[in-house]
């Protein structure tokens, strides 16, 4: 922060600042919500594995809980990262005009990812997957690509949104 910061921030409210790009700046133009979907499904699977764990051997169970939790944690974080790339690198103001609740959807999905880190809650994991799927539907719609919902065809079950073309 700087002495001029309040004045410059006030100016920003009157006329927004220009955008300066600092992302993979070719730009490569390659974005896909599938990575976030897989991460969300992994979080769901870890919840299922924790729930189904055989606890007859306490040491083994403790080790498995640690492994499942670590994976749940890292994939919830990965899900947030993948969502954020879509959020601030792919989506543009014109998308927001068409989908005014876009920011809210990303915000809530990120919060759900955090909740999944904090808890063992299969419902929260399903909610995260659904939130990511809704973002995937919007993502493909902005590219005029029709989508369908179908089974993930993974052990975890659950649905993915797929491009239907």
């Amino acid at each position: 922060m700087n002495l001029l910061s309040p004045m410059l921030r006030a100016l920003d409210r009157l006329s927004p600042p220009e955008r300066v790009s600092a992302h993979c700046d070719i730009p490569c133009g390659i974005y896909d919500p599938h990575a976030a979907q897989v991460a969300a499904l992994t979080v769901l699977r870890m919840n299922q594995l924790i729930k189904a764990l055989d606890r007859s051997n306490a040491d083994l169970a403790a080790m498995q809980i640690a492994r499942y939790t670590q994976t749940k944690e890292s994939h919830a974080e990965l899900c947030k990262k993948e969502l954020d790339i879509l959020w601030h690198d792919y989506f543009r103001p014109e998308h927001l005009e068409k989908y005014p609740d876009l920011h809210t959807k990303f915000w809530m999905a990120n919060k759900l990812a955090s909740r999944n880190k904090q808890s063992i809650d299969e419902q929260a994991a399903n909610d995260l997957l659904n939130a990511v799927n809704e973002i995937a539907e919007i993502f493909w719609a902005t590219k005029n690509v029709p989508t369908r919902r179908g089974p993930s065809n993974q052990t975890a079950g659950g649905e993915f949104v797929y491009p239907a073309n």
Partner: protein
């Protein structure tokens, strides 16, 4: 009191001139993307001096806005090498010629820069970042 009024008026006038000069010589910009992490995060706002290189040459370490020919959007990068420096380009080692600057992102894993695009020309460097606000 009589002397205070003109002094205050002069001070206000100087302030106004200063503010106008600042507005005309700078650009307010908001950062998108991660190629300049950790120092510059997405959403950070920066004040860019458009006139920084009128009298002095861009220097190693400067964070600059570059507007490459044929690319509509400005990019934020750091000057890694300046004219006369040797760089490791895709085709082997080479020395930067006059007016050539090697720009890199601080976060190389998520940056496209001189490693892929080659050096930027001095006239493509549109300003120097002064500070975040």
């Amino acid at each position: 009191m009589k002397r205070l009024v003109p002094a205050l008026a002069a001070l206000l006038g100087l302030g106004a001139i200063g503010a106008i000069a600042l507005l005309l010589s700078t650009r307010r910009m908001v950062v998108e993307g991660r190629s300049m992490e950790p120092e510059f995060q997405p959403g950070d706002r920066v004040l860019v001096n458009k006139l920084a290189y009128l009298r002095s040459a861009p220097a190693r370490g400067d964070v600059v806005v570059v507007q490459r020919a044929g690319d509509a959007s400005p990019h934020l990068k750091r000057i890694a090498f300046v004219p006369g420096d040797e760089v490791e380009a895709g085709s082997g080692r080479r020395r930067l010629g006059p007016g050539e600057y090697w720009l890199l992102g601080d976060n190389p894993a998520e940056s496209t820069d001189s490693r892929q695009l080659g050096p930027a020309r001095r006239e493509e460097i549109a300003g120097k970042v002064l500070f975040k606000y």
